[in-house]
Symmetry: D2
Subunit: 395 residues, 4 copies
């Protein structure tokens, strides 16, 4: 385990809180005290302030990178050299160029690689993805993924040089990949429109951004990210298809509500802003956020010599999309996504637009009116004229 | 009452279902049968197929325009000529040019004019606007307003010539004005970025669109409109400010839930898609959608010789924003909003970004960590360096 | 308007905040200052501290009683003598004996009488009652109605002599009548089981109680009332029928949610406990609580010489049920409801329990299993033996 | 694993779907085909139709009893004789007498025993229990636990001889123990009031029941159970304390909502009633229902030679409470709970009722009024008179 920040803690908690065989054997931190304390708190046998030592430790089968963004590449290089399986936290890199280099390193070295994108693994998300795959929503037209809160916990996130950006690089990477999973990872993302601004904090990076990613089949992945949100962590996904809709709330409204007159409350949930009044805790936080299923998917893939659901290639695609976002925000224009390599399908079309009523008409809409009657709105094929017709029989 | 479609019905129902003095005296429809039936159903003394006759009727003090978009201007001309008070449904016109002409007509004639934007008048919205005015949310940074359903009821909406556009002109007009009210009607909207597509229906206009309207103070009004949504009518607003958040759900999740094994259900709610399983009716639909408060505001304004909350000028501003949306969608660029006349404030700035901790540091973030400790993330003023500090005393 | 407490304020606000013809002409309070101030605040022409004067005022057509419970009867006597229409707040009386006397007085005098039970008139409740009447829920089996908060606003509520009881008489009267409306006002309530305790407050009356009212057809009306609840006013109804379910939330979860860092918030909602953090305001409070529809129903009934939806007889029935509750709580047994006069139906049976599969079997349950198969659980008619059968074809 | 019904499936799924070391080694069913198929589906090495063989298998360390209620005792006898650790599903027995015998058997044999009450282990419940233990809700006054659906899956549940009762024995055992955990397992349950009826199904046992369990400190545990509910499985807990409130929804409203036009949907959730329209799936069903945490607690207890959170003694207490419920339902009176052995505390008092304002007055209520003023309602100690006082300064 490289890194002892919040994410290192979440990863370790996930692994150690189960009755599983998967445990952290040694932990690395630049800071000796943090390394020691972390090892003690989570009952980890070893600790070190020497990254290479941690990686090369013969007990280490798997290197989990939970470091600031600017240190990912170096850690990947060392781990690939050592021939270890590599799990890297999100975002993969600070930009697409760096991500591509890291992808090339692991693929050249032939080591197992997984991209730690926990937010495609929440139980609700996995079940939703199954529904989408079974066709219950028809063709996906639009996905909104939103992650907003009051800003990250560690200093380096706020430093554009270490992080590579602001809320987009920190949170947008999640939202982009969530939408990509719903729309279909084999569908090519082609262009991006993005607004980004620094509305509240005295920093150089953006603290609020909204982006639209257009896929080849016309589907739109919309992300909303912010470090300015008040009220806790807002983590929601909305999926709209031709035949259905899914709304998921991962954090603030999950059927768990508590009012307390206050004074005695401990930890409520990640990024919660208050400890009295109406509070909205989360049941099993590491499970709801996908950590449990993510590691299960990765370790099973490793055991079975398969590719995990999220690999370095996915991380690279996301970094390309993010780069396009920054280009778009700067130029105030839609910008193409410059994938150097596309491993999915090509020329996928959107849903067809024609539903025939009969030889003469296409159906635009069928609706039940307040009076119980059914109305058809149709387009005459030859003239293009739009007409309506009330059906005399109900339903 | 000019028009006997769904909107004419909602307007009349609103007026006639109260113990008030405000009643419809005569109704006009192009179609004789519809005019007759509407008059009978709502106990309206007069009906006619001659618009001028309806307007010039000496019993008519107020002309309510509930006609297709392409007929608004003609009706306004006649009513202004007759010197009657004019209430025009949304959108004011098919485009900004037409809207400006209508604005000029009523202002030159000196007649009372109101723009029938019901969705800034729902009880929840009015109360939210009061909260925002009292400063409970701080400075408003972002507003999302969403209206999506399976498409409108009448044929003319689907015809781009009669309507002037698709989902943007039909639904975007609501969402744009909702955001404008929350951000502040005196703040100038300056530019627009918009995506629009025809994803599902065999029509020429857009059936799905998303837009961002940037205001002079940096605030963003985001609209999401669609005629492709499945599951009923999704009508939600989200407001984010520096000090707070508001989430309003007007339709599908209002604390009213019903499961029925089915077979006997009548009308559930506007645009509902099914009549068995879990259904989400709305309590008092015309009240929840703002009609009751809207007419109260307008009639009180008329009685007191004041300007109503929404006037033709507001309708014109909205049409200018919509025109910019279509230009943006066509050009794939942000486009300026070309207001010929601005009646609000100018040069309004956004929230400041600096909060001093002491002489040396600016505060970036203060956060309570899972272990109960408080962490400050700060920027050193001179170097710009970002540092963190753990406070030893809690809170 | 007799009374200037919270209820008098809500009644007056309801009437005066609409564009209606119905206004308060004179207000009575025992306290001169309160009478004056109330008249001024609500622009009421007259005020007095002499109840008889208010009632006999020739401008007074309707007497609205919003006084403490122990003063209802006296006011009814005076008003009946004066031949005025009488609207009395809830509960009708402190006990069934007093209620019966009041019923006899108004019926002997032949004056219009209405019982001001607002909570059967919320928009969601009225729409639900229509659904139930249309049979969408099948036969009603159970209704839960819950009203709990931190206790009433005025001193007299807490005094058992003036009020006649505690949370049951204050809040149970609402819940009992809500359930009665859903189950059917023509179905006879026959017996009651009630728990009541004084858990928190230093008073003689109960501050928490739960009761079950059994109706002749086997349906159960369950009420939960409390003056010990934390978090605001919890006002929910749940209705379960053989074919469906309704869940209504009138107050704390109505699709209106607000987070504020605090400091500037004014009035949130009746009985709200905090003004920062997550708050749950209500849109149009007097409408959501039924006041608007209640007065509309009553005034329309008065205009049309009909009986309003809730009359003194209903108030009397409720007082009889409450009396049985206190007897039950004291004796720890189910107690019969001693209606001196029953104006509804008799001998109404519950839903039948037999659904034939074929000559040999009755159906107990049909269910779709996780594997998609359908299972029947049946009872063999002759032997009473219970067997299951898996259908080979799905659905 | 003894038993291959729904519960056996849930238990096995829980154990096998994790990366843990805990696996089922052999499965027993009376029915050979079921045993074989279950073993195959869940990759269990052994299967048998001979219960003793399964228990005595040297690979078997732990016997998990997932059999119909009437077979629990026999299985416990065999397993205790074999000296194996025993985990028995809910309810422990058909009645208190049988439960006491089973408790005596395992305690005499000195074998590890755990009671498989999954519904005190859902993540939301465990977190809530921690909040209650930290005092965030003050003293617990009332708990409502509700489990209702359309009836169980297997035939034997519906047969009163095999099951020992109906909805109370099937579902009430959960709700009773949930309330007991919130109120405090060391607080003695003293008496019970219960209504039970057979409203819909052609069976001898109750299909709908409501009960109140009174604890020594005055707290009330309320259960609502039904096999007549429509709309899926309603699984909710509500906890009210002197300082706070908790509302948990485990199943139908957990922030996961889906609309589908239908036709393609598979399994939605346990007891779901439809597969189109608005559906409410559950994320990770076995986790949300507590199975994962339950087995973790038990196996950790076994490893550490501790008592698990729920043991046979708890199961016995619940059976005594249920017996009292049936006595109460039959006699229409509160009935005492006849615990033969009480292992908790005695003479625990409820929350005190006195809060002094000053020498003269006790505080009844402090409330913020709509006008922003604060009102005190107080009781004069000597006279008992109730008075109110408006504080001139706000807050």
């Amino acid at each position: 385990m490289l890194g002892t920040g919040l994410i290192g803690m979440f990863y370790t908690k996930t692994l150690h809180n189960q009755r599983g065989k998967d445990r952290v054997h040694t932990v690395y931190s630049r800071n000796e005290e943090k390394a020691k304390q972390f090892a003690k708190e989570w009952e980890i046998p070893g600790w070190t302030t020497d990254m290479r030592e941690a990686i090369n430790d013969p007990e280490t089968d798997i290197v989990v990178i939970g470091l600031p963004n600017n240190l990912h590449k170096q850690a990947v290089e060392m781990a690939a050299e050592a021939g270890k399986a590599i799990l890297c936290t999100k975002p993969l890199a600070r930009n697409a160029e760096e991500a591509k280099e890291m992808l090339d390193i692991v693929e050249k070295a032939g080591v197992f690689n997984a991209y730690l994108e926990d937010l495609v693994f929440p139980p609700k998300t996995l079940k939703s993805l199954e529904s989408v795959e079974r066709g219950e929503l028809g063709k996906i037209l639009w996905v909104r993924s939103r992650e907003t809160h009051g800003g990250p916990h560690s200093d380096w996130f706020w430093d554009i040089d270490q992080a590579g950006g602001g809320a987009i690089i920190d949170l947008g990477c999640h939202c982009i990949e969530i939408a990509r999973n719903f729309i279909g990872k084999s569908i090519k993302p082609v262009e991006v429109m993005c607004w980004a601004d620094t509305q509240v904090h005295p920093i150089d990076a953006e603290d609020h951004a909204i982006g639209l990613v257009r896929y080849e089949n016309g589907a739109i992945g919309q992300f909303e990210v912010s470090w300015t949100f008040r009220g806790g962590m807002d983590l929601r996904d909305e999926v709209a298809g031709t035949d259905g809709t899914i709304w998921i709330n991962h954090f603030l409204r999950t059927g768990f509500e508590m009012f307390t007159a206050g004074g005695k409350t401990g930890y409520v949930a990640e990024k919660a802003e208050s400890d009295s009044g109406w509070l909205f805790p989360v049941g099993d936080e590491v499970h709801e956020l996908g950590y449990v299923n993510m590691f299960k998917n990765i370790f099973n893939a490793l055991d079975n010599e398969e590719t995990p659901m999220e690999s370095f290639y996915d991380g690279y695609v996301i970094n390309e999309i993010i780069d396009a976002c920054y280009r778009s925000a700067g130029s105030k224009q839609w910008k193409p996504i410059k994938l150097q390599e596309w491993r999915g399908e090509s020329k996928v079309e959107g849903p067809g637009k024609s539903s025939e009523v009969d030889e003469k008409y296409l159906l635009i809409k069928k609706e039940r009116m307040p009076d119980g009657k059914t109305k058809l709105i149709m387009k005459e094929k030859t003239s293009g004229k739009i007409v309506e017709k009330i059906l005399t029989q109900s339903k």
